[in-house]
Structure formats: C-alpha cells, structure tokens
C-alpha cells in the first residue's frame, strides 16, 4: 500500500508528507515527554504556587501558565531534575503574577531582606537574640502554622516552603530561587527564626 501511494503521488508532495509525518511524531514525543516530566510533580507545583500567591484560585492560574511555558520549553529540559526544573518555572510565573497583582509586596521585600540579613549578622555577632523554647512552639496547630508561614516575607517564605514542606535540598533551592547556597542557608535560618518567634508569641 505504501509503495502504491508513493507511485501515484508526485515526488514533491510525497516528500512534504514525509516531513510533516516526522513533525507530528516529534510533537507527540514532546507531549509524552512533557507528561512524563511535569505531571508527576504537579502537586509540588501547586503547593509552591499556593504559598507564593497566597490563595488557591490564583495558584491554579499560575500553575497553568507555568505548565504552558514548560511545554513550550520542554526541549530545553536537561533531564536531570524534573522537579527543580518545574518549580523554577512555577516560581517565575508566580513572580510575574505577583509583580502584576502585588507589586508593592515585592518592592518592600527586597529592601527588607537586605536589612534583615545585615541585622542577622550583627545580632549573631553580638551573641544571639532571645529565642523561644522548643516546647513552647510545639503547641502550634495547623491553622497557626499556616498563618505564620503565610505571614513570612516572600524570600523567607519560599525558602522555608521549598525546604521544610517540599523537602528540596540546599542546592536545589539555590537553583530554583537563583541565589547562592550561602544565601539559601541564611534565609532558611531567618525564616525558621521568625516562624518560631511568631509561634511562641501567639502561643496561648
């Protein structure tokens, strides 16, 4: 049958058809690659988007936007760490969303981080600050935990979420948030410090 069609079809048309057939196959390949790479980590993508945007409806929009980009860029995925790759794209989409809808928060946070990190250095150098006992924070329930994490400034929040909720390691967090590992470490320590402090203050 293949030979028969080939004989009847002018040479030019048949080569166009062949090229097109190859194109379709590679589209299908992209699709199955996308599904293999992205779908297993969709819950992680959604969780990160929810913590960054602060609500579920916007998280869905952000994840959808991110996944469309992931599909577009699937060819650039190096095949090493699908989760970190996807979370990087989700974070980028979330920041674009924040810039459009919560631009004030983003600007304030940049300054805050610089100040906080300086303070942290001075504070640690002068012998540490008052810190609550572990037993005091152990009483926090899910609701208080949620609101305390949600109240963290963005860079601290995302670092804490990536580490303590999503269990990425330091290198992966550095890759996703585009900062050096040292910054990941200091942000994580600051985030945990703020979180324990606010849980202790709220404690009944």
């Amino acid at each position: 049958m293949l030979v028969e069609v080939g004989n009847k079809t002018p040479k030019k048309a048949s080569s166009t058809t062949a090229a097109f057939a190859v194109g379709r196959l590679s589209d299908g390949q992209d699709r199955s690659r996308f599904q293999n790479v992205v779908l297993p980590h969709l819950a992680d993508a959604y969780v990160l988007a929810r913590w960054l945007t602060g609500n579920r409806a916007d998280a869905e929009d952000v994840v959808q936007e991110a996944c469309l980009n992931a599909f577009r860029w699937i060819g650039s995925f190096g095949g090493i760490n699908a989760r970190a790759w996807l979370l990087t794209i989700v974070r980028r989409s979330a920041y674009a969303w924040l810039k459009e809808n919560r631009s004030a928060a983003l600007v304030m946070v940049d300054d805050l981080v610089a100040v906080e990190e300086n303070q942290a250095k001075q504070c640690a150098a002068s012998g540490g600050s008052e810190s609550p006992e572990a037993a005091l924070i152990a009483k926090a329930d899910a609701l208080r935990l949620e609101s305390a994490i949600a109240a963290l400034p963005l860079p601290f929040r995302e670092t804490l979420v990536l580490r303590d909720i999503q269990e990425l390691d330091y290198r992966e967090i550095a890759e996703v948030t585009k900062v050096p590992v040292g910054t990941v470490m200091s942000r994580l320590a600051r985030a945990r410090h703020r979180l324990t402090a606010s849980l202790a203050v709220d404690a009944p």
Binding site: G28, R31, N36, A43, F71, A134, A135, D141, T196
Partner: protein, 253 residues
C-alpha cells in the same frame, strides 16, 4: 570555636546538620559543639521541633483534579480545530495515517475525536491486528507460553491470566506501539470476538484523559492497577467487556 566558624556560621551549620547537608566529619564537629554550647543545642531543638510540626500538622495538598486534567490536556492536538479548518496538513496527515492503517476508509471511520488520545491508538492497534493474518504474534492459549514470549522482547512482561473458565480463552499476545512506546498486548476471545488488552505504564498519564466508552464502534474499558493502565478494546457488548475487565482484575489479586 575555629576561626572560620563565627557564631552565625555555627548557627547555620546546626540548620545544615538537621537538614542532612553535612558530611560525616562536619556533622561530628557540629554534634560536639552542640554538646558544649547550650545556645546551639536549643537552636537544634527548635529546628527539629519546627520541622516535625510542619511534617505532622500541615496537611499535604494535592493539585485539584480540574487543574490536573487541564495540564494533562496541554499539547494534545485539537483535531476538532482541524475539522473546521481543513488544511493541507490535515489532508497530508490523513494520507499518512491511511497508509499506516492500510485502508483509506478505516481512516474516516477512525478519525480521532476532539482529543487524539491513547484510546485512539489502542483502537487503531486492535483494528490493525484484526486485519493482519494473525491477531497475535505468539498464538497460544497457554499463559506459560505467552508470558515468556514477552520476556525477551520488552522490559516488562505483562501479567497473563487464564480466564477460560470465565469464558475468555487466551488467544495469544503481541507487541503494540503507543506513541513510540512498545507495550505488551494480550489477546483473548469471547465467542467469535477478539479482545485486545494492552498495558501502559501509568506514568504516561493515560488515565488522566477522559476515556471514551467507544471509538468507531469498538468498546473500550480502561483501569489502573499496580502502576499500569490497562486498556481493553473489543467489539463485544459493553457488558461483556466490563465482566472481562472484572474477571481479569479478580484473578491473581
């Protein structure tokens, strides 16, 4: 305390210790420091407690189903769009597929619906098998002949069960291709009708698609067990195909 370890560094290293980021030598050093230094020991207790709280008390959230469906549909060709705007591409595609199916009329009967899916490929494979001289590459009613046949050919040989008691004698097995993935397909018989049963690793997301009940007059039943998505397709009545699926799942489970 060594020169390189300022109080702040020592504090960060406690976090890194809890996070499993330290090699054994540094971990040992941090353990010794925590034993000497109550401030560091308290920090250690706080971090451990906080991580345990988050792990145990914060609910693990899943992506909403609607979102999962929308993401799974990304990149799935919208053939409905083709139908309303016929182009040389659509025509060329139909030529390619018609050649592939060795029958021009089959293409029109099988033309994919709004979602060209695994289901379409499953039905296409079943049809091609019906048109081939033999519906199976290894023809045997013995499960102990069919299963080893797969072993040398694909990474994962399928679960082969004997359903002759239930009225579905085994005909044999063959290897189909879904996308570019070779998958094992078993062939069973119900009276004069053949049933093709393909199993696809679930990572390929087949189950996330809305599975049509029938394509081009062929009934389809799909389910997922043990990380594999099974696709049964046949022209037997839907009720028969469902009881086939139930029997297959029941045996050996």
């Amino acid at each position: 305390m060594t020169v390189s370890a300022t109080p702040e560094d020592a504090n960060l290293l406690v976090h890194a210790y809890v996070d499993g980021e330290l090699d054994p030598a540094h971990a040992l050093e941090v353990e010794r420091q925590m034993a000497r230094d109550t401030v560091l020991a308290a920090e250690h207790a706080r971090v451990e407690t906080l991580r345990r709280l988050i792990r145990e008390r914060l609910p693990r959230e899943q992506a909403p189903q609607g979102l999962t469906r929308r993401i799974a549909a990304i990149g799935v060709p919208q053939t409905a769009r083709w139908a309303s705007h016929p182009s040389w591409r659509a025509l060329a595609a139909s030529v390619v597929l018609a050649v592939f199916l060795a029958s021009g009329s089959t293409w029109f009967a099988l033309r994919p619906g709004p979602t060209a899916t695994v289901a379409d490929m499953i039905v296409a494979n079943h049809l091609r098998a019906l048109m081939a001289p033999q519906p199976a590459d290894v023809a045997s009613s013995d499960q102990h002949t069919v299963k080893p046949w797969f072993d040398g050919r694909i990474p994962q040989s399928p679960r082969v069960v004997d359903l002759s008691q239930q009225g579905f004698p085994l005909v044999g097995g063959r290897i189909d291709v879904i996308g570019r993935v070779p998958v094992p397909t078993l062939v069973y018989r119900r009276r004069q009708h053949l049933i093709s049963l393909s199993s696809v690793p679930s990572g390929a997301s087949a189950i996330l698609e809305a599975v049509p009940r029938a394509i081009a007059g062929y009934n389809i039943v799909s389910w997922t067990d043990d990380g594999l998505t099974y696709w049964a397709v046949s022209d037997v009545a839907p009720a028969d195909l469902h009881s086939f699926a139930q029997d297959f799942r029941a045996v050996g489970h």
